[in-house]
């Protein structure tokens, strides 16, 4: 496993002035070849923003304020547009959260696939069609829908079509932002399974975003937990399952008990996430935290601490280690 994508100190804001929203703050995250990294957190904590910023797809008013993203040794955010274009889809693909509306309503599905392949140098129509049919099979959409227009597909089919599109050029990294929310559990499993099989076969990495922590625990090699724009904990899947350190992670586990566990009381986390325009000083989770320590938690922002190798957390319950925050 070698380093593929490295997000370092990334801070992203929407807008400017007093109403600016800091949606991602000082996030470090690494993705290695062939691994599945999960990102979880409540709605609005900045998951999608992180994914968009990390792939250079952020639109105004969104702006990267600090930090950078390196992909295969290049500074992705400073790549000239022409070079960035060649990275997209071919190297890094993105399955958007709003898969419903990401297909061009006036073009047939087939043409939208052909456009993509032509843009990346696949000029043989036969090859393009064959590739398209192969990925359609993978996501279990009948090939006849290639001739359909997007509005003729069901929501779930549209999502699967977009997943198929992300796979068609066999990229090295795929961001999947809640790719299966419109699908029922059975189809969801089946698709994730076939994506995973393919991943093992072709060795690409996946960054999987969801608020369903239990799902991540099943499929992810490593999991990062976000809260109010901050990355608050990161660990391997099993480690996080057995030993969630951050009180917020623990609360999330309660909210989404892993499959198989007794779903006795499915409860949300009490309270509301803070206003991202005006974060209180101290730990952003302090106001909702059961283990809050007055005087520390509400005044000092916790730094990232490596607790054991591969497991780091930003919480005052775990004293700062000497190596500092960054993961080795």
């Amino acid at each position: 496993m070698s380093l593929l994508l490295e997000i370092a100190g990334l801070t992203v804001g929407y807008g400017a002035g007093p109403t600016a929203v800091l949606a991602v703050q000082d996030v470090d995250l690494a993705v290695h070849t062939g691994e599945v990294v999960g990102i979880a957190g409540e709605s609005g904590c900045g998951k999608s923003t992180l994914a968009l910023a990390a792939t250079g797809l952020l639109d105004p008013p969104g702006r990267v304020l600090q930090g950078g993203v390196r992909y295969a040794g290049q500074d992705l955010l400073r790549l000239p547009p022409a070079a960035l274009r060649h990275v997209r889809l071919r190297q890094i693909a993105m399955v958007f959260q709003a898969s419903m509306n990401v297909l061009n309503p006036v073009l047939r599905i087939r043409d939208q696939f052909l456009d993509a392949m032509q843009a990346h140098g696949i000029t043989s129509r036969r090859e393009a069609v064959e590739r398209t049919q192969a990925v359609f099979e993978l996501v279990k959409v009948p090939a006849r829908f290639l001739d359909a227009y997007p509005h003729q597909l069901s929501g779930g089919m549209r999502q699967r079509t977009v997943i198929a599109l992300s796979l068609v050029l066999e990229p090295r990294l795929i961001f999947m932002d809640e790719p299966t929310t419109a699908l029922d559990v059975v189809v969801q499993r089946a698709i994730l399974q076939s994506v995973n099989d393919l991943r093992v076969q072709r060795d690409f990495a996946v960054v999987f975003i969801t608020h369903d922590l239990s799902l991540l625990i099943e499929i992810a090699d490593r999991i990062a937990i976000m809260y109010a724009g901050y990355l608050v904990e990161e660990a391997s899947g099993p480690e996080l399952y057995q030993q969630p350190l951050h009180p917020y992670t623990q609360a999330l586990m309660q909210a989404f008990p892993p499959l198989g566990a007794v779903r006795s009381r499915l409860q949300g986390i009490p309270g509301q996430p803070p206003d991202l325009r005006q974060l209180p000083p101290g730990c952003p989770f302090a106001a909702r935290c059961g283990k809050v320590r007055q005087g520390t938690c509400d005044t000092v922002r916790p730094a990232m601490t490596i607790v054991t190798p591969g497991h780091r957390v930003a919480c005052h319950l775990y004293p700062v280690s000497t190596e500092g925050g960054k993961q080795a």
């Binding site: 547009p81 958007f96 709003a98 990401v102 061009n104 309503p105 006036v106 073009l107 456009d115 993509a116």
Partner: protein, 328 residues
């Protein structure tokens, strides 16, 4: 096809309304304008022509309104629009038939150019929206869109006709009677350039504005962002994904726009003494030539109706979603 059926219905109803307005107006207006007109032409027309007019405008008649209406329709359907008072003894049909191709050529071509030009500029402005170009284009288009057509035409005529002498300043009316051949064509073109340029410049402003706004809205859509995420070249995203969708509302808004342009074009013809329907209408208004006025109104309305219908057809061809509504 439900959409098409509806459009045909609107077409027929509007045609009926245009004809009926012609019937109702002279009978409805206070002060009996038709009688005033007849009084003016007493002695200048043959008694038979005068008698026909009294029937046509419902003056001093014992027929019931319904019978008059039926007779009126009979006349319309057989192309019997009566005699022109201004050009007596020429018939209205003759005068209109002579002028119509001139207007169709001038207005048709310049509207088409304005549409293409304005749409193109609108696309470019939206693609760079927020830029200096966009910032300048917007007020300029607003200004062009707010200028009285005929006034701009007068200035153009003065500047390029009288001061610079690049184009003929009159004599267009004789064109209709000139010999054909290449020389004739050259004369026609040299007389048409200035009015065509006037119409094109003023009409393009409106298209710039609508297209720019549609396009800005579309650029915020997920499918445009996804097109970029696919790594498509900018040109493809701009035209095949964004503009292709942004142009669709122009077809539904076509009715109002074309009505506006045609109105402006008629005034432009008057300024340039161009031998089309606009100038004829002006003469008719000056001379209270109601039969001629009515026929011109009718023909302009029908031409606009047909243009609208063509726009509807184009819309159906361009938007698969409308087609689908028709099929189901």
């Amino acid at each position: 096809m439900r959409y098409l059926t509806r459009r045909v219905l609107v077409l027929l109803l509007t045609g009926w309304a245009a004809l009926t307005i012609n019937f109702v107006l002279p009978r409805l207006m206070p002060g009996n304008p038709a009688e005033v007109m007849l009084a003016r032409f007493q002695g200048r027309l043959s008694p038979r022509a005068l008698a026909a007019l009294t029937v046509e405008f419902g003056v001093h008649t014992h027929q019931s309104l319904l019978a008059q209406y039926v007779a009126y329709w009979g006349h319309m359907l057989t192309g019997n629009f009566g005699l022109s008072l201004t050009y007596y003894p020429a018939s209205v049909a003759q005068m209109v038939a002579q002028a119509f191709p001139w207007t169709l050529g001038l207005v048709g071509i310049s509207t088409l150019i304005a549409f293409i030009l304005g749409t193109g500029i609108g696309i470019a402005a939206a693609w760079r929206h927020g830029s200096r170009l966009d910032g300048v284009l917007l007020p300029v288009s607003l200004l062009l869109n707010s200028m009285p057509y005929f006034w701009f035409a007068l200035l153009m005529l003065y500047l390029f006709g009288f001061v610079l002498g690049w184009f003929p300043v009159g004599g267009g009316l004789n064109l209709a009677h000139q010999a054909g051949g290449w020389a004739g064509l050259g004369a026609i073109i040299s007389h048409a350039i200035l009015p065509a340029a006037t119409i094109t410049i003023t009409a393009a402003g409106g298209w710039v504005l609508t297209m720019r706004n549609n396009m800005v809205a579309i650029l915020g859509e997920d499918f445009v962002k996804f097109a970029r995420a696919k790594g498509l070249p900018d040109r493809v995203v701009e035209f095949r994904y964004a503009a292709r969708n942004a142009i669709l509302p122009n077809f539904t808004g076509f009715a109002m726009a074309i009505g506006f342009v045609v109105g402006g074009a008629l005034l432009t013809e008057i300024v340039f003494s161009y031998p089309g329907l606009g100038y004829l209408l002006y003469e008719a208004v000056l001379n209270l030539d109601y039969p001629l006025m009515q026929a011109i109104f009718l023909f302009i309305s029908l031409a606009v109706l047909v243009a609208n219908f063509l726009a509807d057809l184009a819309y159906i061809l361009l938007d698969p979603r409308v087609r689908a509504v028709g099929r189901s």
